[in-house]
Symmetry: C2
Subunit: 304 residues, 2 copies
């Protein structure tokens, strides 16, 4: 048989992993409209942006301003990404209550994305995590390229476990395994998650999946079977790291919600409302997004 | 843990389920070129076409002629679809050694696709199967809409099992569960396959999956876990029944081969060669197909 949870929490990463890969820069006003649509659809965790250098990722340069204007809602967790000290200090000034801090399991990606070795990145993130905890901000600690690297190919499981051990020792609130380049396969997801969870039993593990090779929902299914109940997704399947070739496409929020709902797993999210938001985003971007459910004409007939 | 087979057999259905949904009618010459490409890629089972009335599916009207000109290859099984007596007699005249005969588990689909009730369809297929066996032709007996109907929604498991029991009693060579409308979810695939296999233990069960809702490879994974080792696929993910709204898209042969290969499962198929065939098909059709692997620029770096 297989294991499935009764409920799944989805963190919508459209505003960060989605928009960072688009040429069009969204205004604070436009991003706020998207946040409101996500909340109206029932999304409870929203990744608002990242505190990275505006020269590197100009799409995220209004993240500080955006945080000042987010709708107050005690049921919604707003979170963001910070990768270095400068970013963390900017984040803390916004009063953010939840942050995503992460390092890469790949030496090449670490150099390209963060300009340091994995070992140096570990030293840095220990400082960042401690500083974040001092400010009573919850931490989701990410391991990028956990399932393979766009530059290096296979990543040894020990390298991933090694970072998870560090996070566990620092008592972070959640550990996220990110398939940053969309290279994971379901067998690998099941095996790696099982190994990581065997070590970090008391700390929840989440998955960040890309659908680059069409295996996104297969990997989600393998993750559920391995005991994961928190996943990232973006509306329409927008997404991808700007520094990784062909990494485009997180798993689509609406497709994920639909699949989970069909299997009797609650998310609290109305996938038809997400489909409407995706349609609006497609209009703004002037292109069709890879998500499936928003393009099916009969999707009027089903609700979550 | 989960179960995975060491080898998987893929039946390529591009020439039938793929091409029947396209406006463009492919000549015998063009279809033969595709057959040769599939064989060169390592495909061992090829669904060549269907023996249906040319007024209904004109794309399949040259199936008889095509059979006369297929390359002789003892390692390759050529097969085709027949849905009624006239079609079966046409098929038998070609000297075909393997046939797909099938009925629908949905009353509405049965009426629309075959102009009869499920009960009448059962009576008819008993005759077809007996006539086929008399001619020493192997039979893959299909259950269409096994996981849900585009018109009716849910299909009771008993209706599917009931047809499987009939097929089992007639000693067909393989039973195929077809997710004709792409409505299956992985939990359902695992559960229904497990129930069917518990009854038909000695007869192999195969799966025909569509990726309409992005769950195609997740369903494949669930099928593997439930003990299935034969699946249909079409290059580029071409496909869909012309009489079902939004049914488009079998699972893509290249994406399926890639995922299986990444999990250490052999198919004997070179997915890069399939990617080339998909690119040629896209040129002929003048459109981009949904398969993922053929559109990744770095796919040069990996072989099956």
């Amino acid at each position: 048989m297989f294991h499935l949870p009764k409920k799944v929490a989805l963190e919508d990463v459209t505003l960060r992993d989605g928009l960072q890969n688009e040429d069009r820069i969204f205004s604070v006003h436009e991003k706020l409209a998207l946040v409101r649509d996500l909340i109206a659809s029932g999304v409870k965790r929203i990744q608002i942006g990242s505190f990275v250098h505006p020269a590197w990722v100009p799409q995220m340069s209004n993240t500080d301003k955006l945080f000042q204007r987010l709708p107050k809602n005690p049921n919604v967790t707003y979170t963001a990404l910070a990768l270095n000290e400068t970013g963390l200090e900017r984040a803390l000034r916004t009063g953010v209550k939840h942050l995503y801090l992460g390092i890469s399991a790949s030496e090449t990606h670490s150099r390209k994305n963060n300009n340091c070795t994995v070992s140096e990145a570990k030293k840095r993130i220990v400082k960042l995590i401690k500083r974040t905890k001092e400010n009573n901000v919850k931490i989701r600690a990410g391991i990028m390229m956990a399932f393979g690297c766009a530059y290096e190919g296979k990543i040894k499981e020990e390298k991933v476990l090694d970072i998870a051990i560090l996070y566990h020792s620092l008592e972070v609130d959640e550990i996220d395994l990110a398939d940053t380049a969309g290279l994971a396969n379901p067998k690998q997801v099941f095996e790696l998650v099982t190994k990581i969870k065997a070590y970090t039993g008391d700390i929840p593990v989440s998955l960040h999946l890309h659908d680059t090779r069409g295996m996104g929902l297969a990997n989600l299914f393998a993750g559920l079977h391995a005991g994961i109940s928190t996943f990232d997704a973006s509306i329409g399947g927008l997404g991808g790291c700007p520094f990784i070739p062909n990494a485009a496409g997180n798993i689509a929020t609406e497709d994920t919600v639909f699949m989970l709902s069909e299997m009797g797993i609650e998310t609290g999210i109305d996938y038809l409302k997400i489909c409407s938001a995706t349609k609006q985003l497609e209009t703004l971007l002037g292109k069709t997004l890879p998500g499936r459910m928003c393009h099916l004409s009969e999707n009027k007939s089903r609700t979550t």
